[in-house]
Amino acid sequence: METLFFLIITLVAIVSAILVITFKNPINSALSLIMTFFCLATYYVMLDAPFMAAVQVMVYAGAIMVLMVFTIMLLNIRVDASKKHSHKIFLGSIIGFITFFNLAYILFKSRAAAPTGPYSVDMIKQIGHTELIGKEMFTNFLLPFEITSILLLVAIVGAVILAKKKI
């Protein structure tokens, strides 16, 4: 059952990821990117991480992509279809292949293939995924969490200063 479901989701993910780079209209590309994010969220659910799935949809599909769609719409970016053959495609595909093999190597050879840690599936099911993330974030990872918050605050203040003509 799960394998079948996984196959369906993977098919959708791959097709929509390909569509992201093949659509000519940037808005349609953005829409298929949202579809890819959805499939990622489904993977999180299948890995017993529902909180991550919800956050994935809320933050990436709900917030970041809205900004991207806005930017594309308001700047009215049009891709010139005549510029099909460019050296950028060649360079990009080389970089893509290198990244792919790197990732594959890391996934198969290193510890990432068989993760071992204190958190097992049973434990997550018993205590709850959200609770575990919260506990870790506010105890062991408190300092990085606070630093990230300050970073975001700086970004907000910067945006306000840039947008306001008179302060």
Binding site: N25, L31, P50, A53, A61, G62, F70
Partner: protein, 354 residues
């Protein structure tokens, strides 16, 4: 339990399909008759009669409206970007409906020895003896409602019309600002409940004749959530995206026939969702007297509460004038968000000492 498919009893599949169908049809009917109810209620509030001609007291009006919209000519503007134009009504409609998957509308009922919880995305675990549902139900609803903005933005942009674009921009700015306030205002509820599962939140509000409802413990959060949700779904007094006097019909100006009907349905479905969400979080969900003895009373209480809140929405529409755009933004960013933050801090301090 007889046959098993892929390790689950046959009854599981039958129950799931039945629950999905019942919920979906119920919401569809509610949406259809909410349009009628709105016209009737506002009519009577303004000392008019409302629709009277189709059927007894106009009871067949939604069907007549549906038929009319169905047979209208379908127009796609020649300069529109077709794909986005076609997909936008779907994106607006689907999130409004699938949020009902996590809302519990009743307790556990037993059919032929198989226990079924009245919540679409939930199952009863006989080994553990309790109901398991999606344990981030509230986040799921927030995530889905944040997707509704795509429908509106795409509709506004792809129509290639100034009115549509302005309406779409207004709608999305409003949605994004009020989503934040709505999300922050319900954090106070989670601080009391300690869980994100809607099923457990409802269970925590049972007993003491309704005084365990979170509206009594968090009145400010309940008020803010309801008002910000109204703004999020573009209802009056925050219906600026469809301000007829300024923008014709906002983002759906260029839409006709069934596509227009889909936006219309999405608006009313969103109203049902918001009411159901407020009932679940603040008004005790399906709790009420005698639900232990008769589990089928649960859905009755739930529907009664949801309909009451929908009536409040219509009442507000008949009573209050529309906000001005800058007032709306001021209200969202400078009043509701700080209030929600203060509410969280106060709840935290009180919760620490009690």
């Amino acid at each position: 339990m007889g046959m098993e498919i892929l390790g689950l009893p046959m009854m599981y599949y039958i129950a799931m399909v039945a629950k999905v169908l019942v919920t979906f049809i119920f919401v569809l009917l509610t949406v259809a008759y909410a349009t009628y109810a709105e016209r009737k209620i506002i009519g009577h509030m303004q000392v008019r009669l409302g629709p009277m001609r189709t059927g007894w007291h106009g009871l067949l009006q939604p069907i007549a409206d549906g038929l009319k919209l169905f047979f209208k000519e379908e127009i796609i503007p020649s300069q529109a970007s077709t794909f986005a134009f076609l997909v936008a009504p779907l994106i607006a409609l689907v999130p409004a409906f699938i949020t009902f998957a996590v809302i519990p509308f009743g307790g556990v009922i037993e059919i032929a020895g198989y226990k079924i919880p009245m919540q679409v995305a939930a199952y009863y675990d006989t080994a553990a003896g309790q109901v398991f549902d999606i344990n981030v139900g509230v986040l799921y609803i927030l995530a889905m409602s944040s997707l509704g903005v795509y429908g509106i933005v795409l509709a506004g942009w792809s129509s290639n019309s100034k009115y549509s674009l302005m309406g779409g921009l207004r709608a999305s700015a409003q949605l994004i600002s009020y989503e934040l306030a709505a999300g922050l205002s319900i954090i106070a509820v989670f601080m009391l409940s300690g869980t994100l599962s809607l099923n457990k939140i409802v269970a925590l509000q049972s007993g003491f004749g309704g005084f365990e409802w979170y509206i009594f413990k968090q009145p400010l959060a309940a008020f803010m959530f309801f008002v910000t949700s109204l703004a999020e779904i573009n209802r009056t007094p925050f219906d600026l995206p469809e301000a007829e006097t300024e923008l014709v019909s906002g983002f759906c100006t260029e839409y006709s026939s069934m596509k227009y009907a889909m936006f219309f349905m999405a608006e009313y479905a969103n109203m049902v969702t918001v009411s159901a969400m407020t009932v679940t979080l603040f008004l005790g969900g399906w709790n009420g007297p005698f639900t232990d003895a008769m589990p089928l009373l649960g859905p009755v209480y739930f529907i009664a509460k949801v309909y009451f809140l929908m009536f409040v929405c219509m009442w507000i529409r008949a009573t209050l004038p529309r906000y001005r755009y800058d007032q709306l933004m001021h209200l969202g960013w400078k009043v509701f968000i700080p209030l929600a933050l203060v509410n969280i801090v106060v709840t935290g301090i009180i919760g620490y000492f009690i």
